[in-house]
């Protein structure tokens, strides 16, 4: 009786390992920022950071939705197309003279509806998320050109106001409305994942779907919910993008799903599901944004280095995840 062998932890080091990818991303971000500040005087300007958020607000929102999907072990390839479709639908409806609130409502309903349908097909017909969301990607992109083959400008006063509104401090640093919306989305998502049963079920399903089922968790509902959430986030992202560009263009945000997936993975979320944080995704998006900013500041580096660096980072982070996975076994 005196020897209780179940006290204490078996491998205390692993506790820190679960935060390792996140810490690595944070360190990377700080190093990149440090490099920027040391190399370019203008880089230390707070507005540089704000601009990263302004330029990537819509990406952040979409990446938050993708985080939900990836946490369950799924993937959503349709996000870029849904972003474009939402912007197109908004622009086209506004062009027809529909009132802005109605347009917002419709635009925000289409994405989740598509996500809901995809989630149902994935869950009930057991077809891989990759294929189903690929079809969703084709569908949404096709809808874009079906609506219009050319870009549609937006002149609606609500939209232009949202685009031009600067919220700033007295020294002239500012952010756009989109940034605030993006922050709100991040906060809601972080709360949902940490403090609601839905959020915890997302982690459970990503960790072990069979166990989740045996523990009586609502697997079907949760899985459909994450694709719906991703659709909703893509729709919000689409609205933000239309604020940013004040137009709807059929070929905008092509390939955006790759950036989004990269941001989520670099943010420490494991692609096989079950582990990761919205905060990590914020860091991942910032890493992408800062890389772009650095390359812009440099001026001699060409834009394609962005992709190569992102690919390289993806490799490093995936390898890191794999190594942690092996050690866990």
């Amino acid at each position: 009786m005196t020897t209780n062998i179940f006290t204490g932890r078996t491998w205390p080091r692993l506790l820190q390992q679960r935060h390792l990818p996140l810490l690595a991303t944070l360190a990377l971000l700080l190093v990149m920022y440090g490099v920027g500040v040391s190399q370019y005087r203008a880089f230390s300007n707070v507005q540089v950071i704000f601009n990263v958020f302004i330029d990537n607000g819509f990406l952040l929102v979409v990446a938050v939705g993708m985080t939900f999907v990836i946490l369950t072990g799924g993937i959503d390839l349709s996000v870029g197309s849904v972003v474009a479709m939402t912007a197109m639908v908004s622009a086209s409806l506004l062009q027809d003279g529909k009132p802005a609130p109605l347009v917002l409502l419709i635009a925000l309903l289409i994405g989740p509806a598509l996500g809901f349908v995809m989630g149902c097909v994935i869950h009930y017909f057991e077809i891989q998320p990759f294929i189903v969301t690929l079809a969703g990607m084709f569908f949404a992109r096709g809808m874009c050109t079906w609506i219009s083959e050319t870009s549609i400008p937006i002149t609606d006063p609500f939209w232009t106001a949202a685009a031009q509104e600067r919220i700033g401090d007295p020294r002239g640093n500012f952010v756009s409305v989109s940034v605030l919306i993006a922050f709100a989305v991040v906060a809601i998502a972080a709360y949902t994942l940490a403090y609601t049963p839905l959020g915890r079920n997302v982690y459970a399903i990503g960790g072990n779907p069979q166990s989740a089922l045996l523990m009586g968790l609502p697997v079907a509902r949760t899985r459909i919910a994450v694709y719906t959430i991703s659709g909703l986030c893509s729709a919000v992202g689409g609205i933000l993008l239309s604020f940013y560009t004040l137009s709807g263009a059929p070929l905008i945000a092509v390939g955006m799903e790759l950036d989004v997936i990269a941001a989520v993975v670099i943010g420490g979320t494991v692609l096989t599901g079950g582990s990761g944080y919205v905060f990590g995704t914020v860091l991942g998006v910032l890493v992408l944004g800062v890389i772009q900013t650095l390359i812009t500041f440099d001026g001699t580096l060409s834009s394609w280095w962005t992709k190569i660096v992102i690919g390289g980072l993806l490799f490093v982070f995936i390898l890191l995840q794999r190594l942690i996975g092996i050690r866990k076994k």
């Binding site: 077809i127 294929i131 992109r141």
Partner: protein, 342 residues
Amino acid sequence: MSALKNHRLFWPVLVLVALLTANAIYRPSFLAVQMRDGHLYGSVIDIVRLSAPLILVALGMTLVIATGGIDLSVGSICAISGAVACFYISQQPDQNSLASVLTALVLGLGLALVLGAWNGVLVAIIGIQPIIATLILMVAGRGLAQLITEGQIITINSSPYKTIGVGHLLTLPFAIFVALAVTVLLAALTRRTALGMIIESVGGNAEASRLAGIRSRRIIFLAYVISAVCAAIAGFMLTANVSSADGNSAGLWIELDAILAVVIGGTSLAGGRFFFSGTILGALIIQTLTTTVYAMDISPQTSLLFKAVVVIAVCLIQAPAFRDKFTRRKPTAVSQKEQVPA
């Protein structure tokens, strides 16, 4: 009739015939083939010529999928190999020299071998999920291609190179012969040796294959290398079509079409049995769909709508869960297995 209906190529052939028929009704000249300047011309020949790159990529993809994997990087490999070849040719004093074109091709293929080996190592040796492992090169590869072309669109003026894309041989487009040659070569490589069966074994049941003494790592590695080489040849074709290399757009989204072609052709994404004939049919269906939509004066982008419908329809028809729910026949082997007491 039932036997015919159960043939694995029944649905793909039916769809292709339906598409061709729709075209022929819409535009009776569709099926016509004319002889001009010693070359055959016609919509059908165009469809085959234009689908050649997709066929090539999809053939390689078929092998990767048969092992139970997937290769997302083929589009980027198309762009890289096309860029290398065009860049090399553009640096030559005589762009029409056959020797320099051949050197360019060897360079492109060599690089593709390296890239395929990279994917193979990540998947087979390090053990990263295929979809993630090849995502790395999918993202970085576009950047590499642009690095090679320095962000420019390299335009070349080389008639030997151009031949790969738009040349003719024996009255038919040269590209058709390239696709045919690769098909024959791959068919021989997999079906004349035991490679095909061993790939199917690894994809069908990895553990049983290991216990039968198959060294599956080598096989999986090989599949990714073959896939990369096929993609490289497709890359040559795509860049030769337009006599220029654009790192950004060459082979863009071809990986998705290729996966689609493989799935339409009846090869399961879960791995196992693979069918080159089905894959080729799948590629032809995709190209016919695009051409049809084009011929009907709908924008090419909108053809994606139709593609979405086809993807979902084909996948649903093949999904056991869907069949069980919507057909009231005897349960499939899968559902029977699940009922056996543990």
